[in-house]
Symmetry: C2
Subunit: 323 residues, 2 copies
């Protein structure tokens, strides 16, 4: 920067100001400095800038990686969310530091903002880490969580209204005069359990639960095939915890010759990109990932500014298609 200053015939502070487009520098001087900087391919040193500004314009995104045994974050929905968060951050000129659960966890998250040099953290998925989050919040670390709501959270959770989503599906099935309802999904996934809960509450009858080991197409298809081959009576209304699982179940139904939607209504969750292209187009509960990303980022920024942000329950709606 000193060199650029010399070449432009000004002092270092003036160069710094010019590069920040500060109103303190006259337009003429600014133009000249920018020109010199461009010609010499000069860009400010990010590390020095971060140090002096005490701010990095970088956000950590903490997720579990797909290669892990449980295969979390493998769903197209997660991809969508990830992409939209990254985009919302890019709009605000923030960079994204990707952290796996483990790599981030070294020495606890408390020190992570200092240690990794980020201004804040976005957690994708909460999986029973409430206590951890509580103490993080108490320590004053700016962060937000994508996940299922809980009324007693002392930190900001952004998530869609899973209970409502489940209820909408139950209502739809009831209006179709369906009798034997089934829910398909894994155990231990809080958001999906809320969907099931909302569904069960609004259904007001028995809901058969078909458990699957994970969120994959294949696991759902297999579980459904097993169920269909068990000899038990076939459900006429199936609510799957995600679109991918719904598609797996649909494959099984098709293979066993069960007509959809004639003999069985099927509804997914997420409205992932594939849902509308599926044949037949999948009826599903929409989660707006674009809005989700934008709001997560907005709330995090607010928290970083020092104003604690309230949790957000995003609306969901039923997208009725062919199944």
């Amino acid at each position: 920067m000193d060199d650029i200053a010399r070449l432009a015939g000004v002092s270092k502070p003036t160069v710094s100001r010019a590069l920040q487009d500060s109103p303190l520098v006259s337009d003429e001087t600014k133009r000249r400095i920018l020109e010199v900087a461009r010609r010499h391919g000069y860009v400010v040193n990010r590390s020095a800038q971060n140090l002096r500004r005490r701010r990095t314009d970088t956000i950590a995104l903490v997720i579990d990686f797909p290669h892990l045994p449980e295969n979390r974050l493998s769903d197209p929905f997660h991809f969508e969310l990830l992409g939209n968060i990254a985009n919302a951050l890019a709009v605000r000129q923030q960079d994204v530091l990707l952290c796996s659960e483990q790599s981030a966890h070294q020495g606890g998250f408390e020190q992570m903002t200092a240690n990794k040099g980020v201004d804040g953290i976005i957690f994708l998925g909460q999986s029973g880490r409430h206590e951890e989050f509580r103490s993080l919040a108490k320590a004053g670390v700016p962060f937000v969580v994508w996940g299922a709501h809980r009324s007693d959270a002392s930190y900001c959770i952004v998530g869609s209204d899973n209970l409502l989503g489940g209820r909408l599906v139950a209502q739809r099935f009831r209006s179709l005069k369906r009798k034997r309802a089934m829910f398909l999904g894994p155990r231990g996934h809080i958001e999906i359990e809320q969907r099931q809960q909302g569904f069960a509450e609004a259904w007001s009858g028995a809901v058969e639960e078909l458990e699957v080991p994970d969120l994959s197409f294949v696991a759902s298809r297999n579980a459904m095939l097993n169920r269909l081959d068990s000899g038990k009576s076939v459900p006429d209304a199936l609510f799957a915890g995600s679109d991918t699982m719904a598609m797996g179940a649909l494959a099984a139904l098709r293979e066993r010759g069960i007509e959809v939607p004639e003999s069985c209504s099927v509804c997914g969750y997420d409205d992932s990109p594939a849902a509308i292209h599926h044949a037949p187009p999948l009826t599903t509960v929409r989660q707006d990932t674009r809005m989700a990303g934008a709001i997560l980022v907005e709330r995090l920024m607010q928290t970083i500014q020092g104003t604690p942000a309230a949790s957000v329950l995003l609306p969901t709606d039923l997208v009725i298609r062919a199944t």
Copy 2:
């Protein structure tokens, strides 16, 4: 750090050394300093460290995001690769800065290492940016590319041997005495085109090409259904450019009652996690994403050290399963 020094009764440099586990500090002093630092929850300021060390231990991962129209990076394979790269970097204590093509591109990649404060870049997918990469290499930016090989590259490309993969499939089909071969895949994806090319070369007969708009399950299923309903004679050997596409085609074949593998052999590419769980288990060409991640990172580190790294062509092998 000054405070910790005072509390431990030593000077700042000694604290710095102790935290780096430098042999210059006596064990007794080190223990004491670490204890004080721990008790007060002190961690070094990453920004200051980066500035002084002239190194950030952070790598930029440049990818296209899944929400984009073309829907690139939506395949489980990409996920696997991403996760494994992140892991390989974590092992070396490197952090990952996620960049989309656009956000990274501001002002060209030349200044990105300085501008984003990263030590190096990993590009996932090359999609015709050869010239750009050439000039990057000339500018001395440390980076590596995951993608298809080209003999004239002046930079490090790591990728699996797509030509070999294609050849292996052709050989297999020939040994099964198949007659009518078909290749399924999109146009303009260099790696997949290489697979097709290797396949065609080793097949030594006509290869029907079925084009699909993208890499998705749905697109492949639809394309295949169209083809099967066209009245033209059905192929007895199908090579799909990825597992996801193979599964889409398999769904179509099943729906049209074509027995696999009796009437038609099917082979995918990637050996993605779903391939082995698929019913029937999918025959496919394996790409070792774990090794890919490790080698990408190793080569990048080498490049950062100042030693230009040679490209790597990773071996692929045919995994024969039920299709």
